[in-house]
Structures are given as structure tokens and as C-alpha cells.
Amino acid sequence: MATEMQKVFTRSPLLGTNTHSLCPGCGEPNAIRVLMENIEEMEERENTICVLGIGCYTAFAALMEIDCQQAMHGRAPAQATGVKRVLPDRLVFTLQGDGDMVTEGIQEVIHAASRGEKITAVCLNNAAFGETGGHMTATSVVGQKTKSTLGGRDPEVHGHPIRLPEMLQGFEGVAYVARGTVHTPVGVKKTKKLLRAALETQRRGLGFGLVEIVTMCPTGWFVPTADGPRFQEEHLLPIFPVGELKRPAGLDV
């Protein structure tokens, strides 16, 4: 008896046919995949502009089948503001890392949030500068060993990690704030929903949205590739709890 095969998974057509060069075990491609799936499902491919920061994920500019602008390190929320203000009916989002958004560019994201810019800021938070080979960012957790915190991040010397979603949720101009994870299949599915809610918030013109996605970086954490999810679970998620922090009343997605 022949079994009819059902296609249950395919690469988003918005991710093109080129390959990427990110490390095995990296969480960023998972996050970007569900982001692009959302744009496809929302039928916004021809209406979306992505502004990418500088980090490992910048390589995805060569794959994403939507209009993209590359920004300077940290400046994407300002650049996205320029795009959105002149094209208010488009869907505009930033794609940045923790080094980009929280370390180098915290001014830009804070002011964009306080102005209530109707954009969506997406932060891929792996608590390290992955691209440089594992250095401390503003979100590296206490005790985390990096090439610039050899004995682990010491609050006396290096300060404490910044929790951007918790910081921005009280801003009047901020409509949607959430944190997701991509270290488990369930996490990926939930993150997709968070991103959908954030993009829908923008589509309805309700205000600024931020989704921080905790992503694995075994290379930058100096752990075996397969240990990435475990390391994230043990060391990062207690500091960066997953869930929705703010959602507009009546948002039904």
C-alpha cells in the first residue's frame, strides 16, 4: 500500500537559494526563518523593508528576498525611522544583535521607542559578540567567560547585563514587548507567534515593538556545538525570561 507523503516543512521562499556561513549550532538562522515565514504568511513581502545592523546575521542580507538596507553598527532604529517616516504604510523592522542594539546602539533604540516609532525592532541576543569570536556585550551574564572577561563577567569590573525589554516596557510609545527563544522546537514556534504579534502591532499603527530573541552561540560561549541549548537554558534564560511583557489591548494574534 502506497503512502502519500505530506510536505510538512520547507524553506521559506523569502530566504532565497543562497547559502549562509553562520556556525553550526547558531540560533540566529532559526529566528530569521520564522521572521521571514511571518512576512510571507502576512503577505507583506512586497511591502516590507528590513534594516540590518552589523553582526553575524548581516550575512542574511544576501539571502532575504525582501528590500533591505544595511545600517552602521547600532544605528538601525534611526535608519528604520527614516524609512518608516517617509513610507508610513510599509512594514519596517530592524534586525540587530545584542552587541548592535544594546551595546553600541542603545541610544538609537531608546529614542526610537520613546518617540513611539511604528517600527519593529528585533534583537538577536546571544549575550556575546559572536562575530568577533566571543567578547563581552552589554547582555553577557554575570560569570560568563569571554575573550575580554577571562575570569567570567564580574559585576565589580564589568557591570551587569542590560535587560532591554524590561527597560523599555514602561515607555508610553512602546506598544509591544516580548522575549523569545529558539533553543527548542517549542521555543521556535512561540517566537514565531511573538514576532507575528509584534509585526501585527506595527501593521495596525499601534506603536513601537521590540522582540528580543535569545539565540545560541556555542562558538562565542566556548562550549561544544551540541551544548548550546543546554548552556542557554542554564545560564541565559534565568536572566532573560521568555514571554510577553507588553501587548496592546485587543491585539488578537
Binding site: 512586497e46 523593508i49 528576498e65 528590500d67 535608519q79 527614516g82 517616516r85 517617509v86 513610507l87 538609537e108
Partner: protein, 372 residues
């Protein structure tokens, strides 16, 4: 107000109005004297024409907003002053590589930003096209021209003025100059949502190049990355711009025995000083570079080939004079007769911005012109 054709306006206001009439629909700025008036004017006028004016939280944010808005295909401008320009430099440099045709106005304090503007103050030394108007009417003309050149070459254009340009009221006429009336290339780079077309990437990093190094198309929608391509193309573009866009004002070169050169509003003082000197019988010629980049080196070279000494007046410690020296390549003596001149405000207006002061310096140089 929307069809303003002729008005008596401060230079900063006149430049802002001309930008709007040239189609600028996004402006942002951070207040700083003497560029504040551009922001004030735009804050009032932009909403009237359906444009956007943002009072930004820093110059750094401002320049990147202009990057985004320009990249979306809308004519955009930012004005700032000296220190604010320093803050923008990383993005300015990269906007040259990324070919973002924005217009950037530096109403400087004095003329000490000449090198920053013409060399490109950021990494890699990637300068914009730099235009230096010397009056309100020319500032108006320059606003139209800046947007035109920016899109013609797909290259940022900087307008370099000062306190005197921004604050002097003159009668201006809002009429695009003839050289800006020609057709411009399609904005086939604008990222405004890929409606009915393949997606675009606006980048300074040489990603998503669709042809091979020999220019032949890559097969099957493949792309490649070449991080040096934007740099090489910028160099090539500068050569093409230099061959096509140099503008320079000259007077009395035919019988000159000494040539005085200056740029911006101080050049009007220098020109007047030259006229006074000629009234005294001194044969003095005058050269005013309008395009600081590309620099009118050929004009200076021709002067130098006649062995004529050149006196350069600038309100800084001597910056354009270096370009003059490079242009003449030792063929003629080059004297610096400028200097840093500021009153207590620090805004760049001081005792040397005075035709009689410049006249005295010209008398001194003229007297020694045959000494060498």
C-alpha cells in the same frame, strides 16, 4: 507660501526653502548655532508640504535617519554645525561607499572643517561632493544643485557654509538653475518595498553583487560579495565627478600679478579687498572655488604656470591652501593670509573677516611679489 518665488530671507532659511522646492521631504536636525535656523524653518514648512521634520536626539541619529529616508527613495537633508559633523563621520563615510544620495549641510563655525569635509573625516577617507556657496542667492541655487548632483552621481553632497551664510539676509529667487533641469537616472536602488520587482539590498559592504568581476552576469540568480568593490567604485566615481562637475569663479586673471583665493562668504570679503587693491593700482586676480571637492586644481595650475604668486585667505589655520599648493606643485609661491578669527561667541566671525584687513595683507604680499 507654497509657491514662494522671491523673498528677503536669512541664508539658512533661504537654503531650507530651496531644498523644499527642490523636492526635499525629509529633514532632521539637532539644534546648534549656526545651523539651528534651518531646523526651525523646516519644522514650520515641512508639515505644510506633507514632508517630515524630526528634531533628532543626536546628530548620529540624524544622519542615519537621512540614510534611511534617502534609501527609501525620498529626497532628504540634514544640517548641522562643525562638532555635529564630527559625530556623523562614520555614517558619512559609509554613505559614500553605499551610494546614498543625501544632502548634508555643514553651517560651520569658521572654515576649520575644510579638511573634514573635503577629505572625508571618517574611516577610509570617503568624501562627499562639497559645494561652498558664498551668498544667500547662491545657497538657494546650491540646494537645487546638491539634490541634482546627489542623484546624478548617486553620491552624497555636502553644502559647506558658515555663520555669515546662515545669518545674512538677502533677496533670493527660488528658481532651479539650468544645469539642474536635465533628466536624472531612475532610482533603481531605492528600497521602498519590492512591489512587482525583485528585492533590493542597499549596502556599503559589497554584498549581493549580481555580476562576475569581468562584468558578465552570474548564472541562476547567484550573487557574490566583494567588500572592496564599493571602495574601488567610489574612487572611480570621484574621477568622473572631477572631470564633469568642477565649478570655480575667477576675475581679473588676465593682467594679474598676484592672485587671491578664498571660498564661501569670506570670499566675498576677499573679492572686495581685491577690487579695492585694484583701485590702488595693484594688479590682483581672484579665484573662488565653488566646488571644494572636486577641487579646481587646473585653474590654480594655469595661474602658477604664469609664475603668479597666490595668496589664500581662509578663516582657519590654513587648509584649502594645502590643496592650492598641491595644485601648483611648486611652480609658484603660495602665501597663506588667513587665520583663525573668532569673536567671543566662537561662532566663526572675527576681526579678520574684514575687507580692509585682507587688503592690508594683500598690500604686504604684493610688495614682495618679485622678491623671490
Amino acid at each position: 507660501m507654497s509657491d514662494l518665488k522671491r523673498a528677503f530671507l536669512e541664508g539658512g532659511h533661504a537654503l531650507a526653502e530651496a531644498a523644499i522646492q527642490a523636492g526635499c521631504r525629509f529633514y532632521c536636525g539637532y539644534p546648534m548655532t549656526p545651523s539651528t535656523e534651518v531646523l526651525e524653518y523646516m519644522a514650520r514648512r515641512m508639515p505644510e508640504v506633507g514632508g517630515v521634520c524630526v528634531n533628532v536626539e543626536s546628530e548620529l541619529e540624524g544622519i542615519n535617519m537621512v540614510w534611511g529616508a534617502t534609501g527609501a527613495g525620498v529626497r532628504s537633508m540634514i544640517a548641522s554645525t562643525t562638532n555635529g559633523m564630527s559625530l556623523m563621520q562614520e555614517s558619512l563615510s559609509e554613505m559614500v561607499l553605499g551610494r546614498i544620495p543625501a544632502v548634508i549641510v555643514n553651517m560651520g563655525r569658521g572654515q576649520g572643517d575644510y579638511n573634514m569635509c573635503t577629505r572625508g573625516g571618517g574611516h577610509g577617507s570617503n568624501p562627499a561632493i562639497v559645494l561652498a556657496p558664498s551668498s544667500g542667492p547662491e545657497a538657494v541655487e546650491t540646494a537645487y544643485r546638491a539634490f541634482h548632483l546627489a542623484e546624478k552621481w548617486r553620491h552624497p553632497v555636502m553644502i559647506f557654509g558658515d555663520f555669515l551664510l546662515s545669518h545674512t539676509s538677502e533677496t533670493v529667487t527660488f528658481e532651479p538653475p539650468e544645469d539642474t533641469l536635465g533628466p536624472l537616472p531612475d532610482k533603481d536602488w531605492a528600497t521602498d518595498g519590492a512591489r512587482g520587482r525583485p528585492p533590493r539590498l542597499l549596502t556599503s559592504l559589497g554584498m549581493r553583487i549580481t555580476d562576475a568581476p569581468d562584468g558578465s552576469p552570474l548564472p541562476d540568480a547567484q550573487t557574490r560579495t566583494d567588500v572592496t568593490a564599493p571602495m574601488r567604485l567610489a574612487v572611480q566615481r570621484h574621477e568622473e565627478i572631477a572631470a564633469a562637475e568642477i565649478r570655480v569663479e575667477t576675475h581679473w586673471l588676465e593682467d594679474a600679478e598676484l592672485v587671491v583665493s578664498a571660498f564661501g562668504v569670506p570670499a566675498r570679503f576677499a573679492q572686495y579687498a581685491a577690487r579695492l587693491a585694484r583701485d590702488e593700482g595693484m594688479k590682483i586676480g581672484f579665484v573662488r572655488p565653488y566646488t571644494l571637492l572636486p577641487f579646481p586644481a587646473e585653474t590654480f595650475r594655469r595661474v602658477a604656470e604664469r609664475g603668479l604668486p597666490i595668496a589664500v585667505f581662509e578663516n582657519n589655520a590654513g587648509q584649502m591652501v594645502q590643496d592650492v599648493r598641491l595644485a601648483v606643485e611648486g611652480r609658484a609661491p603660495v602665501h597663506f593670509i588667513g587665520g583663525i578669527s573668532m569673536d567671543s561667541s566662537g561662532f566663526g566671525v572675527g576681526p579678520h573677516i574684514d575687507a580692509l584687513h585682507i587688503l592690508q595683507r594683500l598690500r604686504e604680499v604684493y610688495a614682495t611679489r618679485n622678491a623671490a
